[in-house]
């Protein structure tokens, strides 16, 4: 039973890790720099594992989710700024994910895009309204597993494995170091997107984790995000083998699916589309809830999907409103892939406001008792705090200098 539970958590983590931001940044990084940036994925994955484990532990021991900690440690004023930043970025991400779902549906069905946006929105609302929290995680986690087709594709494309191995060694070997740095920051931002920890920690509270679930938390974070990182490797290798030096910019979701279609044919294409549909759909629900979690936790409202919708009215109304606003934004015809790029870069700027409070709370003996951070968690936590500060300060300048990665 325990193993079954761990398996479910892991599946959910894979589904929650790979979203439209990861798809776009990993494949474009491969298309631009081949396998050179694989090492950056490793750094990003270790970072998200470190902080997810930390905030999951805080949730299990104290019942506090991330935005409780933000409010408590940053105070009302700075916390309010963090909340506004989080909501803006989160809404951009949600809009991009819904757009991504609609594009997938369009590639699968050939129906007009605008109708599919509406269908995607209604489908998401119905799924969230009628399905329980753990089933939402299961459905989208299992569906997202179809993305493993990219791992098969990566092998079938016969990459130069020596070059792949070399990609895991940190190095800069390029004529355009700024663009290289921009992609590095984008990959880290996509791997460590704040909504992942909002959702992960709130999910721990939703599932009523306690001290006995700390092993489950560790396994989920370690293996789940580890496998998510594995998928990221596959996507970048596919991008590198298929698009590098061919002058193709994978700026459409359709060209990303080519990565599975070229080596594996129609079945590859279908699996890729279904995988992307569920991964991005799951991420849409994650971001939808994350926005509502953040607001409710900051203001002390009752929240959670474990309460039926009328049991947490303001939380429910918040996610309903967010969904409607995001649908309106997708309807304006904004390009989801481009929006994703902006969302990832802006979220990189706001990263410290999310991660600093987690590190502080995880060290608070008054309610974490003997479960405060160990030496390893604090060592990694501090290193990643520096990483996150560097990312935060350099993201916007790099975006401007590289013309959003276009030069």
């Amino acid at each position: 039973m325990k193993i079954f539970q761990v398996a479910l958590g892991i599946l959910a983590a894979i589904g929650g890790f790979v979203d439209i931001g990861d798809l776009v940044f990993n494949v474009s990084a491969g298309a631009t720099f081949g396998y050179q940036l694989l090492w950056v994925i490793v750094i990003g994955v270790v970072g998200i594992i470190t902080y997810s484990e930390m905030c999951g532990r805080v949730a299990a021991i104290s019942g506090k989710a991330v935005f409780d900690a933000v409010r408590e440690r940053l105070g009302f004023k700075t916390g309010l700024m963090a909340l506004i930043a989080a909501q803006v970025v989160n809404l951009m991400t949600l809009t991009a994910e819904i757009g991504g779902v609609a594009i997938c549906l369009q590639l699968l069905s050939g129906l007009p895009y605008r109708w599919l946006i509406l269908i995607a929105g209604i489908a998401l609302a119905v799924v969230v309204w009628v399905t329980s929290f753990d089933w939402i995680e299961r459905i989208f986690g299992y569906g997202g597993l179809c993305l493993l087709v990219f791992a098969v594709a990566a092998v079938k494309l016969h990459p130069a494995w020596g070059a792949v191995a070399h990609g895991f060694v940190p190095h800069v070997e390029t004529k355009s170091p700024l663009l290289y740095a921009y992609f590095a920051i984008g990959l880290l931002g996509a791997a460590m997107t704040p909504y992942e920890v909002y959702f992960y920690s709130s999910g721990g509270v939703e599932e009523r984790w306690g001290p006995k679930d700390l092993g489950l938390n560790k396994a989920n974070a370690l293996i789940g995000y580890g496998l998510g990182g594995f998928l990221s490797f596959a996507l970048m290798i596919v991008g590198g083998s298929l698009f590098l030096d061919k002058g193709i910019e994978p700026e459409f979701l359709g060209s990303i699916t080519m990565g599975a279609e070229v080596p594996l044919g129609e079945i590859g294409l279908l699996l890729a589309l279904v995988g992307i549909l569920f991964a991005v759909g799951g991420a849409a629900i994650d971001t939808l809830f994350s926005g509502a979690y953040a607001l409710a936790q900051f203001l002390g409202w009752e929240w959670g999907r474990y309460r039926h919708p009328r049991g947490a009215p303001r939380f429910t109304v918040t996610w309903l409103v967010l969904l409607v606003v995001a649908l309106g934004l997708v309807m304006t015809g904004v390009d989801p892939v481009q929006l994703t790029e902006y969302a990832v870069i802006f979220s990189a700027v706001a990263l410290p406001l999310t991660y600093i409070p987690i590190l502080l709370v995880a060290n608070d003996r008054s309610y974490m008792r003997e479960y405060t951070n160990g030496k390893l968690a604090n060592f990694l936590g501090l290193i990643y705090l520096v990483v996150v500060l560097v990312i935060s300060l350099s993201a916007i300048p790099l975006m401007i200098l590289t013309n959003v990665g276009q030069n």
């Binding site: 019942g63 506090k64 009302f76 203001l299 409202w301 303001r314």
Partner: protein, 116 residues
């Protein structure tokens, strides 16, 4: 929990839970009393948009206005304990907390399946 707590770190901005364990607001501010030369005493917890202006200037005042500007005063006697959350002795309704949610509830009840 020890007998003394740092009210800036361990009381302000904490989650309020009512007698049934439901979340019903945050500790937005405190009411302190005391005569000159005597130690100050916390007499009440203040919760609600009405005090946001004092916490965050113009931005706080704007959101406080947006939130309706009410403040609820919870007497210190009604606080059961302060741990990771601040537990209250009374039901949220009795303390007039969480009214915004109560007002939205009839709206949600019109959608089928809202109680599942």
């Amino acid at each position: 929990m020890s007998d003394s707590i740092n009210i800036g770190l361990h009381l302000v901005d904490r989650q309020l839970l009512d007698s049934e364990g439901r979340r019903c607001g945050n500790v937005d501010d405190l009411a302190l009393e005391g005569n000159p030369g005597e130690p100050l005493e916390v007499v009440a917890i203040l919760s609600g948009p009405g005090v946001w202006g004092q916490r965050a200037g113009l931005l706080g005042r704007f959101f406080g206005w947006l939130g309706g500007g009410r403040t609820v005063r919870i007497a210190w006697e009604d606080v059961e304990n302060v741990a990771a959350h601040v537990k209250l002795r009374k039901h949220a309704k009795e303390l007039v907390l969480g009214r915004g949610g109560e007002r939205l509830r009839p709206l949600l009840d019109k959608i089928p399946g809202a109680d599942q």
